[in-house]
Amino acid sequence: MADRAPDPIRIDVGALVQRSVASLYAHLVTRPTGRAVRLAIETQLAEAGEPTVSLIDLTEVTILDFSCADEVVAKLLQRFLGADRPRNAFFVFRGVQVRHRDPMEAVLERQSLVAVAQREDGGFELLGPATPAERDAWHRVERAGRIPSDGRDHHFGDPNLSSGLAGILSRRLVFEAPGSGDLVALSRLVHG
């Protein structure tokens, strides 16, 4: 069966703040603002194809407070993690700057969530309380870009790595192609 590559979609959160809360402010502060932005993101996703890789772009966001981070990062991820998720969507946070890290790390830690983030230097990393095995497994996929299904034993034969792979799959930190079972790094999908 041929794999269907996820549709990448870029969502500019800075622009969305201004549109969603109908204000002149570009800061991602207060819970109602965060909720409005999260709902706007979900609306955009509803119009995209499936599966989708969403690039949540924080580049233009100067201030992200904890309440907004809880809505736009933690609650967004949570909503698309469970079996009852509204769509088959994956997330990568782009433009994550030093000033965003504290709130993002705090809300991820509190909800035991992990996110894929692209730093200012272009590199990708995991944010949140991933286990060492999950980090190790994720880095293997990230380095390889794509791991064919018949290469899984080679890469994840070790029981520890195998449990790490299970973790990153259930956390939706890598894409598992539905036809071939290949593992694809989310970074490769957002880069097209």
Binding site: S67, K75, V98
Partner: protein, 296 residues
């Protein structure tokens, strides 16, 4: 008319006494006598507004406010935007000084917080004005401007999310050479809402049984991060504020009802928990952030 004499230093150290006095004031019209006030800070100004508003609501008549006699003090209060808020609370016994346009030494004037967009406005204003004070006066790194804005956002949201009543916020930096040997930034937030005990009662009072009260409610929120919301994402604001304030070796204190709880750094001699004060509605928060100009 009953007179409530204000202390000469109307600040974060005396504000509890002012709130206590307001709570214990008899019925009938009250005169707030500020003639001998020689020093005010944001906590003192918001405490005065809260005391006045409380008595106005309780007694159904606006209290009178006699302005400080020391010429510098009313001028400073005007620069801090105090009188704009005070005119809605007090009957002023004389016309307050006008605020000169273009004052740039004020970090954050006394600002009412009633809606979400007020918080956006505060953050926006502080982003524009706080950089110089935080970096040049307090010698904080540039990254602190954003962290400070986040703290302000969270502390203001505490009013909207939990008090369900309007409140005020204000912030200013001072030179505490004698007391601390450096500058300090003071942030104050006050509201006359239902307070921490009222906010948490429905969800959490049962498990505390007879121990439930203002102090236990404050401990539950301040130390354990409990909120009235079942959502596990809630309750982070105060915890994260405490964490950041600790990083800056600062102090944070919350008075609600009859109790006051605080994170006290080594340079402060305030008690971490005070009980048995007069019951005053709402929540009154202040943060003291020392500069890094003397001890790094």
């Amino acid at each position: 008319m009953n007179v409530l004499a204000l202390p000469s230093s109307l600040d974060h150290r005396s504000v509890d006494d002012v709130l206590d006095a307001a709570a214990r004031a008899p019925d009938g019209r009250i005169l707030f006598d500020a003639r001998h006030v020689r020093w005010v800070d944001p906590a003192g100004m918001l405490g005065l507004l809260s005391g006045g508003r409380f008595l106005r609501d309780r007694n159904g008549v606006a209290p009178r406010l006699q302005l400080p006699e020391h010429a510098d003090v009313p001028g400073y209060m005007a620069r801090m935007g105090f009188f704009r808020a005070a005119e809605e609370v007090f009957e002023l016994d004389q016309r307050p000084p006008r605020r000169a346009k273009g004052d740039t030494d004020v970090l954050l004037e006394v600002t009412p917080i009633t809606t979400n967009s007020d918080v956006h406005e505060v953050v926006d204003r502080v982003q524009r004005s706080a950089g110089t004070i935080l970096t040049r006066t307090l010698h904080y790194p540039m990254t602190a401007v954003v962290q400070f804005s986040v703290i302000l956002s969270e502390v203001c949201q505490n009013i909207l999310e939990h008090a369900e009543a309007p409140g005020w916020v204000s912030a200013q930096a001072y030179n505490w050479q004698k007391r601390l040997g450096r500058h300090v930034l003071i942030v104050a937030v006050s509201d006359l809402g239902r307070g921490f005990r009222g906010s948490l009662a429905d969800e959490h009072s049962a498990r505390f049984g007879d121990r439930w009260g203002d102090a236990t409610a404050l401990e539950a929120a301040f130390i354990h991060g409990l909120t009235r919301f079942p959502d596990t994402g809630r309750g982070q604001g105060i915890q994260q504020m405490r964490k950041q304030v600790r990083k800056w070796n600062g102090a944070i204190a919350i008075r609600s009802g009859t109790a006051r709880i605080a994170d006290v750094p080594d340079w402060d001699d305030s008690p971490p928990l005070r009980e048995g004060m007069a019951s005053f509605p709402g929540a009154h928060i202040h943060l003291l952030l020392p500069g890094m100009d003397a001890h790094g």
